[in-house]
Amino acid sequence: MITIIDYGIGNVGSMLNMFKHIGVEAIIESNPIIIRKAKKLVLPGVGSFDAAMNNINSITGLRDVLDYKALAERIPILGVCLGMQLMTSFSEEGKVSGLGWIPSRTCRFPKHTSLKVPHMGWNVALPNKPNLLTKQLSDNSRFYFVHSYYVKVDDPVYSIMRTHYNIDFDSAIEKDNIYGVQFHPEKSHKNGMQILKNFSLI
């Protein structure tokens, strides 16, 4: 059973649709007391970094439960899009601190004359080391991205996928039980299904 965290931000509906489609039991939950019993978590998110962190910090008990699940109980957690960025220490998008679970930071795409920001559309994410989350993906797997900021890990050991858009950036990261993907697996057809299937089996 996978618990999708609903903290008032992010497309929880499409995530639930995708898990249903691949035959994985999932629920949407915002109550920290119920989240405390979760076996596996998905942290979705769209929108701005500060708004998302403020939402998490304002739901009584949610931040503590998330830290406990991630760092003490160490159950598998998958951050998606902004959800992944929240796992970093801070973002150039805002002033509020991130969850800081993976040594990394969130940076703005450099200004470039011909490339538009946000990075929106289908791009290749290339696994750069074997990992449970990226099992059975081909080398040219395309995923759907929408973001104006990207994640930079402090140590390449935490990077598990890389993507090129003007610069090379970390499109999937992992530290022990904590995983993050910048793209939207729930909107990326078969490759996205593979990622979510892999996560459900971790």
Partner: protein
Amino acid sequence: MLSKRIIPCLLLKDHRLVKTKQFKNPNYIGDPCNTIRIFNELEVDELIILDINSYSKNHEINYSLLKDIATEAFMPMGYGGGIRTLDQARKIFEIGFEKIILNSLIFSSPSTVKKLVDEFGSQAVVGSVDYKNNFFSKKNYVYVNSGNTNTGILVLDYCKNLINLGIGEIILTSINREGTWLGFDLDTIKNIEKHINVPLIAHGGCGSEEDINTLFKLDICSLGIGSLVVYSKKDKGVLVNMPNRLNV
């Protein structure tokens, strides 16, 4: 490298899928859910669904149909037609769509558009701009209410205004070319693209893989297609299909 996007634009009327020509004469294509299931199998880049009946007074957004669609389709999807409030938009996002597409609302209530952008982010709000070429002045004017009302505003000025409202993407539709298979209105598309800094989806007139290639060579990265993906050929029967990625 970011892939170029080829986006089927599907039209709903009375909960059925139709295809128009120059915004008129809706021709019945099929059941929306079945068709979208096929596009999902074909792994299309993205889908745009527009309810063309929405300007009528009694129109209600068909949430249950949108829900059925969202549980069948695992690509990014945008919906347009009759969105006037934040609550309606929120419902559409909750169902599993990631973009709302606004047309007449931009003209009638720019302040609501701004509120939608502030609440859901630029990336989630697409501006739909329908324009028609004036026979006498040769200028392009924007039309709203499913192409029925001339705003009297030139298309470039209108698009610039959309950017000021914070809209994250524009779908630009040539009413003259829609459903005609005559190819894209390249001059207008090029001119608008030069002046805006958000992704532009060119729409209206695409009739062949060659049309797609011509557009991509101009560095226009996204396009919408209608007739080409629901008919087997011009003036022929219904066939849901996609251009071969290898040829474009």
